[in-house]
């Protein structure tokens, strides 16, 4: 088959969505499908730019390329699913969250003016039309599926995707908690730093970069965490696999996250995940005292959770192994078979 995988691109920003799209292309190619990544830069501000930039996808003609038909398109997230194709499939990572659950929060984008309120609704209307056209509609997590159904009435099939390919292994359980995230406010790394300030034995390694880095580094310094909190920045795949392999546990607690590959990566490294009760998607696989710990989104609670793990190595191992059994169920073979069926 000739397949176009459609994903937006935010120039100079790379995160889970980009890794997912690249991996999907590679996996499809590996199964003999002629596959291409189609991407268009996306800027969602100011004002109506969110719509005009989304509209660019609508103008693309992907029914054929160079005189040969494209059999299928797979769109991944807003606004790539606005693309037109008679055999459009959407494997939804997320909608434009500022128009939904992030509206009227500090992470929101739309103000209270009549024009801003209407703009938000127009984004939702576009979603209803564009997602409603999909021949098959998948969501990466129950959280994403529920949000979609609430907003549009559409009922996607649930299909989590495997994490990126790394040399996953467990080389033991070290003395640090690992965070792997883009550094922005929604990922709530500050919660981990505040917990470290309360737990003198807690060391943290923070992988990733982003607009919140400066503030987080200043916070770590302010709390006297120099030497206990290490900002590793963006690391290569070998180093990432090594950090997963040697950490005690992985912290992952964004606000109402869609899905997130980090828990799967932690599980494949036999590491428990520490998350919070309001984390959304991760709670579908992180169960308290089964595959990790789930605590209230408070520094003291988080500190207590990590202290518990430090004092209970058998539990840590058991949680990690239970997680691994879950993560191993999600394979590209199964996903692609469903996606193309």
């Amino acid at each position: 088959m000739r397949i176009a995988v459609c994903a937006p691109q935010v120039p100079f920003v790379r995160g889970g969505a980009e890794i997912f799209a690249d991996t999907l292309v590679a996996e499809l190619r590996g199964r003999g499908h002629e596959t291409e990544l189609v991407t268009v830069p996306f800027k969602w501000y100011p004002g109506t730019r969110v719509l005009t930039q989304a509209f660019l996808w609508r103008l693309l003609d992907l029914e054929e390329s160079d005189g040969r038909p494209i059999d299928l398109v797979v769109a991944t997230k807003f606004p790539s699913y606005a693309v037109r194709h008679p055999n459009k499939r959407v494997w939804l990572l997320h909608q434009f969250r500022q128009a939904y659950e992030l509206d009227r929060t500090e992470l929101g984008q739309f103000g209270e003016s009549a024009a801003d309120r209407a703009l938000r609704r127009k984004v939702q209307e576009l979603d209803r039309v564009a997602l409603g056209e999909a021949r098959r509609l998948f969501a990466t997590s129950r959280n994403v599926a529920d949000r979609l159904e609430r907003a549009t009435g559409l009922q996607p099939e649930l299909m989590p995707h495997p994490p990126q390919e790394l040399h996953y292994r467990c080389d033991g359980y070290g003395d640090f908690v690992l965070s792997v995230n883009r550094l922005d406010r929604a990922k709530r790394i500050d919660l981990l730093l505040e917990a470290a300030a309360l737990a003198p034995s807690l060391n943290v390694v923070i992988v990733g970069d982003g607009p919140d880095r400066e503030r987080l580094e200043a916070l770590a310094h302010e709390r006297g965490l120099d030497g206990r909190a290490r900002f590793a920045g963006v690391v290569d795949e070998d180093e990432l696999a090594r950090l997963y392999a040697t950490c005690l546990a992985v912290f992952y607690a964004p606000v109402d996250e869609d899905f997130g590959m980090v828990p799967y990566e932690a599980f494949l490294s036999e590491k428990p995940v520490v998350t919070t009760t309001d984390a959304g998607g991760p709670l579908e696989i992180v169960s308290d005292r089964s595959t990790g710990l789930v605590c209230a989104p408070e520094p003291a609670e988080l500190a207590r959770a990590v202290e518990f793990l430090r004092g209970h190595p058998d539990d840590v191992r058991a949680y990690g192994r239970a997680g691994k059994a879950i993560a191993e169920q999600v394979t590209w073979d199964r996903c692609i078979e469903r996606l193309l069926a």
Binding site: L51, L59, A114, A118, L119, K122, E125, R150
Partner: protein
């Protein structure tokens, strides 16, 4: 944003009053609503948008149309055919010329002449005999800045009538199921039909079909609930079909609680009508909420129900045959009834959930308030980019841009 809300309200006995009573608490959680007192024709100070509920009953909606004439706004079109409303607002108030103008607006000179025939009592009142031929929705459509409709059918008819503004399709909300009193009504199975008994509810066809079903399924019963419309000779029809005995269970008009209990007692609910005025059926929505399979006419809103919840009967020459086949299928196949019932329940929860309906209302109202500014900003940016790329406003490419913008409802 403050919304001036024009609607009949309880204790007024009107389906739309019940509708508003159900919708308002959920809508108020999303939008600042000022319900306008009955008869008041001005919108409250500071209202950004006016919302007018328009149905076909002149008693309930006459004052609302008058308010709409003062200030255009978003219209909730509960029926598409407004002939009865317009007749009440014109002839009913001694304004024969107004009726003739409405008829001419829609039907040209021929329409005006037919209107004269009605005024001169040479032909029966059209709103009773064949209202679907002249919908008379023209004035309301011309005053509406946007429409909220319950079905694709009404949307299509409004478009066919020339309405060019935004249309939002919002399902009818489902009432929460009340505590039910168990009602014992004999029948294996028991079919129920609710509402006024008359020809437009396809009662002649239903009785004929049911009489046939009874021959193969003597345990089946038909529960008819509602008043008999004047001129409809139910008894004679029953007698002719041999249904005056134990096959039929009759109840007149019933209060809400008993209505729910009776629907709950049925194995399937029959909700037929033709012609359709573009209305939804409150009874059908209640039946879905109770997980009852439906048998409906294949018209208007009813056609748009999923096949998994409703058997659809076209109102054609074979109507009684098709209806008998549908009833027989349900009488024979308990598994089919159960599967349809489960699908009905799921459909009611998904499609007619009042919170979802309120969210769609809020979306429509927010777009009505600020949508034009968004539209203009988007069009300006797209037009500027197109012009910079050398695309002329009258070119085919510009036409495609407009088409694509409308397709995703960015700018219609």
């Amino acid at each position: 944003m403050k919304v001036a809300y024009f609607s009949p309200m309880p204790p007024e006995r009107s389906g739309i009053a019940d509708y508003s009573e159900l919708l308002l608490p959920a809508l108020r959680r999303r939008v600042d609503i000022a319900v306008v007192r009955r008869g008041r024709k001005r919108s409250p100070r500071g209202s950004g948008v006016c919302l007018y509920h328009v149905g076909n009953n002149p008693e309930a909606h006459g004052w609302i149309v008058e308010a709409l004439r003062r200030r255009p706004g978003v219209v909730v079109l509960h029926d598409f055919v407004l002939h009865h409303l317009v007749a009440g607002l014109t002839i009913g108030r001694g304004d024969g010329h107004g009726y003739l103008d409405a008829m001419e607006r829609e039907g040209g000179v021929v329409g005006r002449l037919i209107g004269h025939g009605v005024l001169d009592k040479r032909i029966p009142p059209l709103w009773e005999s064949r209202p679907e031929e002249y919908h008379l929705a023209g004035e309301v459509l011309s005053l509406a800045t946007g429409l909220i409709v319950h079905s694709r059918y009404v949307e299509a008819r409004a478009r066919a009538a020339g309405f060019e503004g935004p249309v939002w399709r919002v399902p009818h909300p489902a009432w929460p199921v009340p505590e039910l009193t168990r009602v014992e009504v004999e029948g294996a199975p028991l079919f129920g039909a609710f509402g006024n008994l008359n020809a437009s509810k396809r009662l002649p066809q239903l009785l004929e079909a049911f009489a046939r079903v009874r021959r193969a399924h003597p345990g089946a019963r038909l529960l008819l609930v509602g008043a008999t419309s004047p001129g409809f000779d139910l008894d004679r029809r029953l007698q002719r079909l041999g249904l005056d005995g134990e096959g039929l269970v009759r109840e007149g008009y019933v209060e809400e609680d008993r209505l729910w209990s009776l629907i709950a007692a049925c194995d399937a609910v029959v909700s037929l009508r033709a012609p359709t005025m573009g209305e939804t059926s409150g009874v059908a929505v209640r039946a879905l909420s109770l997980g009852k399979p439906l048998v409906v006419s294949d018209v208007g809103w009813f056609s748009e129900l999923p096949g998994s919840v409703a058997l659809k009967v076209p109102p054609d020459g074979a109507e009684a045959d098709t209806l008998a086949a549908a009833l027989s299928l349900l009488a024979l196949d308990e598994d089919a009834r159960r599967a349809m019932g489960e699908a009905a329940l799921a459909h009611a929860r998904r499609e007619h959930d009042v919170e979802r309906v309120a969210e769609l209302y809020a979306s429509a109202l927010e777009q009505a308030a600020g949508g034009e500014a968004v539209r203009e900003a988007v069009l300006a940016e797209v037009a500027e980019a197109a012009a910079a790329a050398g695309i002329d406003a009258s070119s085919e490419e510009a036409g495609e841009l407009a088409h694509r913008l409308a397709e995703v409802r960015i700018a219609e």
